[in-house]
Subunit: 341 residues, 2 copies
């Protein structure tokens, strides 16, 4: 019998989540049944989108249930197997995050077209990269920039939350394709990181009273693409600086996820008419037909030393709620991870 | 020597335009010079977009100049001609509205690809229809609904300012293609007109305290297309009721054109992410490659008795400012026109 600790949702957060909204529990894990494998998680991911699943409302994924373990991306290692396709020691990817270990029938479907467990060949890369630059956040950056925003030659690109797991990949793909890139992030460490990866202009939004004016100054001729992770004044700034026919990939609006009152919409949305702007929201799961191209491109870029990534790590399942909460105060540089083993 | 009266912009309006922002002036018109024709206008158009040109700011068209005649669509008749391609009596279309008569060299370019004067074969239709259903507003409806919003089978369509020159054409094209259409308009006369042209659900926004709730009730399964003419709460209602992958054609936001403070943006814009919405602004002049298809389709639909249109008419150049101002209080049913001769 194995003991696995897990994090459950105790109460639905109101506003910014508190550690008291979560509880740590232990479950006894039986040996894996017929056709099942047992996985010990090495790493789990915390992502801003998880905040949305903590509300009890219809969305593109069902809400998390109270009193049950949360879910999310995780990388683990097979420790026992009754499935001939999985051997002890295999590195695997699943959505069974927020827990130390689990049993699963690998061929069960987690979602249409998505197996519950996927074996990973890490090609010598750290396995947790498959929760970041080579995982969902990297794929989000790739699909959002290249397909949704339809990046094309000569575009000036603006990225908010530019030092985050998604934003930092957006910045680097745009840079290696030769674009002028403006990134917004909060704090000196993130600003320095963005400069080190070649971002042309960095706006420290925590240090400026007027993001709209700062962007107008950084992009005197305007922007053609906006990769939206933040919302609020960042969206207004992008609309204000947009050139005609600019395309906005709306990936997330983290500034609004914990809003308890009425959020402020972009007061200058009317400019979308006169400037023929396109604002388009997207969910990465609708773009996995790009996955083979993503893997091929990313492998080439990483192999050529053209992509860098940062990680911010909390240690142990007990600290997973804190890791998650820190996303909303911007305490992560690059991908926020919890090390589980 | 001919006398032509014209309307000049006297002061830039602040908020809702007042008649005192305009002045009536008379100019002496010489006989047309070599290569020129003289046109007496029969009808002129007033359109909401003209409000934007009264601000002194950069936009997709230059601002109107103070002390000079305004410009806009007009239908006239050639009264003298020194151009062999134009005969006295010809019906012509120009952007020399807001005046009774003018001289022009027809082959001069009003804009790239756009001649200063175009001869019209009315095919027996009233000439002023070429300022409405067969002119810029009709073309706006056609391009916005079919290209920008990319109307496709099964779509539920929501239209604001549905009884206006553009909206009423959007509603009818969508209806004759078999769609469920929800229209919003203000007042009993407009509601009755929309019902008479087959609109499935009509929201009288002046009679409801909550457009968001009304739309949710009218479209319990949601909407797939929103044709945006109004902005404000109408945009919020559309976002709230949008189904995943809904497309919004942003044509105008008349509720905001006279805003003197900070307009209210859509507080629920974050839903664009989770529902993968596409909000796209457009200017009809970028879609004139569709003009031949527009003429062919409209001729067929009008010939088959499938399209109706309404006009609201003010009489005489002196009343043009009032006609324009009435657009913002919604006093027009269908196309607002000024009869000049």
């Amino acid at each position: 019998m194995t003991v696995s600790r897990e994090i459950r949702l105790k109460t639905r957060p109101v506003g910014v989540p508190a550690v008291t909204d979560f509880e740590l529990a232990s479950v006894d894990l039986a040996a894996p049944g017929p056709g099942e494998v047992q996985v010990r998680n090495l790493w789990m991911s915390v992502d801003p989108y998880m905040r949305g699943r903590m509300y009890d409302r219809p969305s593109y994924v069902p809400p998390f249930e109270l009193g049950k373990a949360l879910q999310g991306g995780a990388i683990g290692q097979v420790v026992a197997s009754n499935d001939p396709d999985f051997a002890v020691g295999d590195i695997v990817n699943s959505m069974f995050g927020w827990r130390e270990a689990f049993n699963v029938a690998p061929k069960a479907m987690a979602a249409p077209g998505m197996a519950a467990l996927t074996k990973i060949d890490t090609h010598g890369l750290p396995p947790q990269a498959f929760l970041g630059i080579l995982g969902m956040p990297g794929m989000t950056a790739y699909a959002g920039l290249l397909r949704v925003a339809a990046l094309k030659e000569g575009d000036v690109v603006f990225v908010s939350a530019a030092a985050g797991a998604v934003g930092s990949v957006v910045c680097q793909i745009a840079k290696l394709k030769g674009h002028t890139v403006i990134g917004s992030a909060g704090g000196a460490e993130k600003v320095a990181f963005l400069k080190s990866i070649g971002v042309d202009h960095v706006i420290d939004y925590k240090a400026t009273p007027d993001v709209v004016a700062e962007l107008a100054k950084a992009a005197p001729k305007g922007i053609d693409v906006y990769f939206e992770n933040v919302g609020g004044v960042h969206l207004e700034a992008a609309i204000n600086s947009a050139r005609p026919f600019a395309r906005f990939a709306l990936c997330g609006m983290i500034s609004q996820y914990n809003e308890t009152g009425t959020p402020t919409g972009p007061a200058n949305i009317i400019q979308a008419v006169g400037k023929s702007l396109r604002l388009e929201g997207f969910i990465v799961s609708n773009h996995y037909d790009l996955y083979p191209a993503f893997v091929k491109d990313m492998a080439a870029w990483i192999g050529a030393g053209k992509l860098q990534w940062k990680e911010t790590i909390e240690d142990g399942i007990a600290h997973a709620p804190e890791a998650f909460i820190k996303l909303f105060t911007g305490e992560n540089l690059g991908k926020m991870l919890v090390k589980l083993a």
